[in-house]
Symmetry: C2
Subunit: 429 residues, 2 copies
């Protein structure tokens, strides 16, 4: 991609209304623009990151055996009356009437709708267990939207729903999602703490929140610091983590005898990025969803729901990975793999070399943002540091004469002169 044909409105100044660093950097790096309170447009660079995060979430859902579908954003109030939640849900639910006067809402979550679809489509135990998910925009009418995409009103969420014939199966589905969440966060370059959570208005008896540790987090987490040493890629990690104490402050304060000795009890701020629940027959019973069991009897399937804030994750990643010059994207979600700076677009040899290198890298499957603008070197370097691509390659007249380019790793700042021929091998070892 040529930057001269892209839309990347970076800002030098820190926007006054952005309080936390991820919000500041998302605005400054041209990832998002606010279009109304708590509502954002995703500019081209931001959308690329959002798509990559969603793809990682999707990959781990598929790996866990969940099946993707897509439910609409607008729901009928009648559906929510079947579960009794229409009146119970607070003013965060955006309610309105359509032109025919029918009461509708913009879905803040989809338990009712998926239960109704499953009720309509599935009649037999043969079609269970099943976990279904979608990645769709949600709306929650926050009274004070803040912190950019961290607490926005329109946001992208992955929500999965499991259906099982019995308690044992339901808990296995819950465990599969628990594991998928750990894998997802690890793939995003994040360290997540699973915190035992109260089940709240969704109901049920088993629930975990996943918090990314960050000083700017809205939550406060107390946990057994043995957790910090768990290798998340270990197959036993889910079981180990669930055995270790971790509680949000409010719940921790209710605990009379904390099982963790004081010297091992860590206290950190966190950003909640996921929440999973097992709530049994709460919705299947309320909404009359039954399937026929092997013995011919009719049973209410046991359900769980599993949410991840996909757009919020972008903020969490930036909170966890930035420096004074800008964002430092993990390789797995970077909007482009490589930033290619041509220092002298008026020099034919430099431009030829830059275009040739872009073509070579793209042919090898790398994504490249090529800064071919007529601008000063200092501005180009600052932009590349701000937008945080994993690698920057700089092409200038001296290097072209010598057959070399400068290769810089954003995360470490390390720079090397490498030959034009060997640069690809450095990027794809």
């Amino acid at each position: 991609m040529l930057l001269s044909r892209y839309l990347l409105p970076v800002m030098k100044e820190t926007p006054a209304d952005a309080q936390i660093v991820s919000h500041q950097l998302m605005l400054r790096a041209g990832l998002i623009r606010q279009t109304a309170a708590g509502i954002y447009a995703w500019l081209p660079l931001g959308l690329r990151v959002l798509d990559r995060i969603a793809d990682i979430v999707r990959r781990e859902q598929n790996r866990a055996g969940a099946v993707e579908l897509l439910m609409p954003t607008i729901q009928s109030a009648d559906l929510w009356r079947q579960s009794g939640r229409y009146d119970a849900y607070g003013p965060e639910m955006l309610r309105f009437q359509d032109r025919g006067g029918r009461e509708m809402l913009y879905g803040p979550t989809n338990e009712e709708m998926i239960t109704s679809i499953f009720r309509d489509c599935v009649k037999s135990y043969r079609d269970l267990p099943r976990t279904l998910y979608h990645i769709q925009w949600k709306f929650r009418d926050e009274v004070r939207p803040r912190f950019g995409v961290m607490r926005g009103r329109e946001f992208l969420m992955k929500d999965a729903y499991s259906f099982d014939m019995d308690e044992e199966g339901g808990r296995a589905s819950y465990d599969a999602q628990f594991t998928a969440y750990l894998r997802t966060f690890a793939a995003l370059g994040l360290r997540a703490v699973p915190v035992r959570a109260p089940t709240g208005p969704i109901g049920g008896d088993l629930s975990h929140e996943f918090h990314i540790l960050a000083d700017t987090g809205e939550s406060e987490v107390f946990y057994d610091s043995a957790l910090d040493a768990v290798d998340l890629t270990d197959p036993d990690a889910p079981a180990t983590l669930r055995g270790l104490y971790a509680m949000e402050a409010e719940e921790h304060e209710k605990v009379v005898n904390c099982p963790v000795p004081p010297e091992r009890l860590a206290k950190r701020r966190g950003i909640e990025v996921g929440h999973i629940f097992f709530f049994g027959t709460k919705y299947s019973a309320a909404m009359g969803m039954q399937v026929q069991a092997k013995d011919g009897s009719l049973v209410n399937p046991l359900m769980g729901s599993y949410g991840v804030g996909v757009s919020r994750l972008m903020g969490a990643i930036i909170e966890a990975s930035h420096d004074s010059a800008g964002i430092v994207w993990p390789d797995s979600v970077a909007p482009f793999d490589v930033g290619l700076i041509n220092l002298r677009v008026d020099d034919a040899a430099c431009s030829e070399a830059a275009h040739a290198l872009q073509a070579k890298l793209e042919a090898a499957g790398l994504s490249v943002l090529h800064d071919d603008r007529d601008a000063r070197g200092g501005e180009k370097f600052a932009t590349m540091d701000l937008i945080g691509l994993p690698w920057a390659i700089t092409i200038g007249p001296k290097g072209v004469a010598a057959g070399t380019v400068e290769l810089k790793r954003r995360a470490t700042g390390e720079k090397h002169e490498v030959s034009f021929e060997s640069v690809l091998a450095k990027l794809i070892p």
Copy 2:
């Protein structure tokens, strides 16, 4: 994908409330379920097709140099007051108040929002021309939603917007989209007729609609039958097509001297799947969007907008490609490349062969839906015909003993016995 772990609720009966064949088949083949009037959930099979259609639209937009971003679904009424359209737009616009009493709406289109974003981000002629697009859910509160996804209320649309410094540039951007549309429809296996259109409430002086010819279409199109002979893959096709007469009935009737001799004038029903406009400074002037020209003066960029009904296209494709047994997906959008039928899941040799073949095809990059259910052969064949995958492979005990499978091409019904070893080569020639 194993069908035993998927969600594919096919129906034997034709739903009474579905009037046109695409709506009937989308329900019967388990692609969609209605969740409210004119609002649908996309079941797993339907979502796969929707994603493939969107990917083809995206590929051709990118090829034409358009840059993808993503605007939110919810917009503020204030934005629409800037263009004067808030009061002018009809009751199809879904309007409501948020919890703070602010007037909001669910975007039916995005001219105002993209103009506001461009106004905010772009100040100089150096950043023009630019065409930006997004693929996002829209809502139009149709008084009589009907024909399934053809005239739904919540629908997926690609809308692009071009910004140019002068009329000549604006027309070039329009031409690039015109060409991208022809390429898009051709890649989807569709024959589209570009029809000169009145500009209507969006305004401007140049506009075309693209109609897919189908007997169940809502529109009636008169056109020069020389159009039928144009090779859409010819680089000159856009220019040729724009030179040939084509009008919707309502406009055709206003034409006093039709330039086409009666014997060459064709009359067919059509489904409108795209609409493009060049409207100059209508929005940039009304909303005060200016950029600095090379000579230092401030100018209002000239704009165009370009819409494609992504979800409607699925209906149009089915209208254009089905038979009495079900859907016949073009290869480019089929939800799976291959349907694999195991006739005897209780036979160890059959099951082993089926799983081995699935693995082999998937390793070669093909997507496979493997019917491993404990069901009768007749039911499995009927399901495969109904859902219309390009290829069906049947594995049974006799074939396994002989080392062969049956390979069937859905579009032609042709069947061949082929060896287990050669089947892959038949699918990827």
